[in-house]
């Protein structure tokens, strides 16, 4: 620090504007207002009475009103010949103010003891012969309403005195091995006239983008009566070697916590760093003092929440680390997949494993993960979705082939919450050696899945505003299975069977294309087993022209079609040509009988 020619203790006159060219103002604008809008800092300023352990803060601005740059050394608060630590400021040290420039800062009054106190606020200027005393600050400390202190000689600031709220000066737990922990006992004192509930006013806050922390809050005391105190512990159990921070919140006051994990570099279990990846892909450090949260699953759904753990022996470690076992205990928790232990992890190498949680009934579950001698607590919640139970119905019963039917997702009652789910359909043919039927689709997407929405108050889930969702049943016997899956709900599945049926003829033509009679039939055989065809021709009066039906075994032709490159399932178009001698226009109609494994179908086509 640069030399101050005039010490803080020697200056008598107090004024908001100095002969040095500095002006000081009360600034309630947070530094945003113009100087003209500000009030000069009074030569005497009285802070409001403040409980010991609390802080009162005011905004101040110092302005260089001279025509030369001024280098400010520091600010101080003195009472007589001593510094008064009940007053503090965040004005920086050793910085230059250009002509006309200002600097916003805070002055805090955090009384260390009850009773009145005062101090002269002084700004030292480099090269000046005296300091600039701009105000006499007065304050009064009242009995602590809610005081906080802590005890642990190894933890900075935990000397039993009342802690001043601060995010700038952390309660530092220092360096703690990753396999160990450090605890401090905090004492909460109720200086007010009413009981306080620590459950309501004490909490531990971590960064939202990394909720995993080595700090943990012990059991909080029950109500603390007026004039009484209670204790709780804060424990720092680092799981890795990165510096960690958290904030202890007490009645709205923030107390910064800090600590750093240290690891053995010799190659023991303490050398390992352990991280896990949650369902969103976020990597979090496993902390001994912070439960590993598997999140929420639906009770009884069988759907589990999994976390992927990665155990790494840092490359800075001298030797390999042996992990004799990895285990999980506690109802609802289990290791899934391959357990890599026992294993020796070389420096710079990692192993992975997966643990899963699924609760059978609703409630909060706890468990323990052991990686060698390293222990981590686990937690998970099992809930019931607010969405009423879903069911699936179709509007055709039974389902038949060649239908555009409608499926509806019904809710047991009006849903109190809006949800988006996925409706899928799956088809399993019952015809041997047939794998699918491409016509079986939702027509809205020409696919087999779509997103359905259950709006608040609705009793059905809709797609594009429609509750009856159109799908095609195809032309293949088998089972269509619908599944609807909503978040936090077990999937609901409903199957509908399409039984094998006789050949169905949907259209046909019979034409005379000299010298042939050509009969074309469109239809489907959902059993893929059409074999025998027979034709009986009649003249225009209805007289039989072919007393004996003309039969042909078309098994091979149909088999080749059905099991070839067909893309239309059991749908077919069969064309039969009959060479005729004479005038074919005299043929009036033809009756066609098609036989498959289920039975016979007849169709008459008129020429």
């Amino acid at each position: 620090m640069k030399l101050l020619v005039c010490g803080f203790l020697l200056c008598a006159s107090v004024q908001a504007q100095s002969t040095l060219g500095l002006s000081v103002y009360l600034d309630n604008s947070g530094g945003q207002g113009t100087v003209a809008q500000l009030q000069s800092f009074p030569s005497s300023y009285a802070f409001q009475t403040t409980p010991v352990g609390s802080v009162t803060t005011i905004g101040v601005r110092v302005v260089n009103s001279s025509k030369s740059a001024i280098e400010i050394a520091q600010i101080g608060f003195v009472s007589g010949s001593n510094q008064n630590n009940s007053f503090s400021s965040d004005l920086g040290v050793d910085f230059t103010l250009a002509p006309g420039a200002g600097q916003f800062f805070h002055v805090n009054f955090a009384p260390l003891a009850t009773g009145a106190t005062s101090a002269t606020a002084q700004i030292g200027v480099v090269g000046a012969s005296s300091v600039f005393s701009f105000s006499v600050l007065q304050g009064s400390g009242s009995p602590t309403l809610i005081g906080l202190s802590c005890n642990n000689p190894a933890v900075a600031l935990c000397d039993g005195s009342i802690l001043q709220p601060s995010v700038a000066t952390p309660i530092n737990f220092g360096n703690v091995p990753t396999t160990s922990s450090e605890s401090a006992t905090f004492t909460l004192t109720n200086g007010g006239s009413n009981a306080i509930d620590p459950q309501q006013i004490v909490s531990l806050v971590t960064a939202t983008n990394n909720p995993s922390t080595g700090f943990s809050l012990g059991t909080l005391p029950a109500n603390i009566g007026a004039g009484s105190s209670g204790t709780f512990a804060v424990t720092f159990s680092p799981g890795n070697t990165t510096p960690q921070k958290a904030t202890l919140m007490v009645a709205g006051n923030s107390f910064a916590l800090q600590g750093t994990g240290t690891a053995s570099v010799t190659g023991d279990i303490g050398s390992l760093t352990i991280v896990y990846t949650d369902s969103t892909g976020v990597n979090l450090a496993a902390q001994a003092g912070s439960p590993i949260n598997f999140g929420t699953t639906v009770a009884g759904s069988g759907i589990s929440a999994s976390l992927l753990f990665t155990v790494t022996n840092p490359s800075t470690t001298i030797g390999p680390v042996s992990v004799p076992s990895i285990s999980v205990s506690g109802a609802g928790f289990a290791l899934t997949g391959t357990n890599p232990a026992p294993v020796s992890i070389q420096p710079g190498n990692s192993i992975t494993f997966t643990a899963a949680f699924s609760g059978s009934t609703t409630g909060t579950y706890t468990g323990t993960l052991l990686i060698g001698s390293r222990s981590f607590s686990l937690t998970g919640q099992s809930i019931v979705s607010l969405l009423p139970t879903a069911s699936i119905t179709v509007d055709h019963n039974p389902l038949l082939s060649q239908q555009q039917a409608h499926v509806t997702v019904n809710l047991a009652s009006a849903t109190p919450t809006a949800e988006i789910g996925m409706l899928t359909m799956q088809f399993t043919p019952s015809v041997a050696n047939v794998t699918d039927d491409p016509a079986i689709q939702f027509v809205a997407t020409n696919g087999r899945q779509l997103q359905v929405t259950a709006a608040t108050g609705a009793t059905t889930a809709n797609y594009a505003g429609q509750s009856a969702i159109t799908f095609q049943t195809g032309t293949t016997a088998g089972t269509i299975q619908f599944t609807v899956q909503f978040p936090n709900q077990p999937p609901v599945t409903q199957s509908f069977t399409i039984t094998p049926a006789q050949v169905q003829i949907t259209s046909g033509t019979a034409v005379w294309q000299a010298p042939n009679l050509v009969v074309t039939l469109n239809g489907f055989d959902n059993s893929y087993s059409t074999g025998q065809l027979s034709f009986v021709f009649y003249d225009s009066t209805g007289k039989v022209l072919t007393p004996t039906a003309i039969s042909v075994n078309a098994t091979s032709a149909f088999h080749q079609y059905f099991f070839g490159e067909t893309t239309t399932g059991g749908a077919f178009s069969v064309q039969a040509s009959f060479p005729v001698s004479g005038d074919g226009t005299q043929v009036g109609s033809v009756a066609v009988t098609l036989t498959n494994s289920v039975g016979q179908t007849s169709s008459t086509q008129v020429f």
Partner: protein, 255 residues
């Protein structure tokens, strides 16, 4: 009566039974893609291949017309181009309902008819149809073009236009039919009162399906017409022997 002889003794040898996938036609989907359809009523399968995106299309079983950016092409079902006509028309009314010789188009912006004479497209200016009429369907019949015209009050008129002179030969109101309307054989498809309806040649009208908005029509084959509403589901209407079947057309694949 002449005697009819079927080759009964040789039946097993000479009867030819061919089995294929049933074809439906070639349709322009709501997104403009033109794709082949196979299957049966209520069992429609879109072929994966798209012939491209077009502004309009009309197909019979043996030929088709497609239009894009004013270029009208006469194509076979395999999309072999038989002829083409360049115009500035963005919204042509196309029709092919049998062979290539049935290809005809109405160009509203130039008020003219274009048709295929077997070797090339021929243009006939039409001055006898008022600008207040909107043509929604056209077809070739002999030396005339038959058109369905919608008036300002949505009343529908059937007009015959001479292809040689472009003069109006006749015009008659179609009672009970509201525009836009479309011919399918002797039937007329149209949308009114939120219903897709069909009017038979004898004047009977029946509802086929709910349709919340106005629609456009395009022939996909001799027996199938695609009805594309301004919003909502696209329908494929199959005209069988005395039977009309409605299917919902699958949307373009989102898979």
């Amino acid at each position: 009566m002449k005697r009819i002889v079927l080759f009964l003794p040789l039946t097993a040898l000479v009867l030819m039974a061919q089995v294929n996938a049933p074809t439906i036609g070639i349709a322009r989907l709501a997104d403009g893609n033109v794709r082949a359809l196979s299957g049966l009523p209520e069992n429609l399968v879109l072929t994966p291949h798209s012939f491209g995106v077009f502004d309009a299309a009309s197909f019979s079983d043996s030929a088709g017309l497609v239009a894009k950016n004013g270029l009208i092409q006469l194509v076979t079902p395999s999309f072999q181009v038989l002829g083409e006509y360049a115009s500035a028309e963005q919204h042509p009314v196309l029709n092919v309902d049998s062979g290539a010789m049935s290809a005809i188009a109405w160009l509203p912006s130039s008020h003219s008819i274009v048709y295929w004479n077997g070797t090339q497209f021929v243009t006939t200016p039409v001055e006898s149809v008022g600008q207040t009429f909107q043509a929604t369907a056209i077809r070739l019949k002999g030396n005339t073009a038959q058109m369905l015209l919608t008036g300002t009050d949505n009343a529908v008129f059937a007009a015959n236009i001479s292809l040689s002179s472009g003069e109006l030969v006749s015009i008659s109101a179609l009672p009970g039919i509201r525009g836009p309307a479309f011919w399918q054989g002797t039937d007329v498809l149209f949308v009114s009162e939120n219903q897709l309806r069909v009017a038979a040649a004898n004047g009977t009208i029946r509802s086929l399906a709910a349709m919340d908005s106005s629609a456009s029509f395009a022939r996909a084959s001799s027996a199938w017409t695609v009805v594309t509403p301004a919003a909502g589901r696209t329908l494929a209407v199959h005209f069988g022997k005395g039977d009309i079947n409605i299917s919902e057309l699958p949307r373009e694949s989102t898979r």
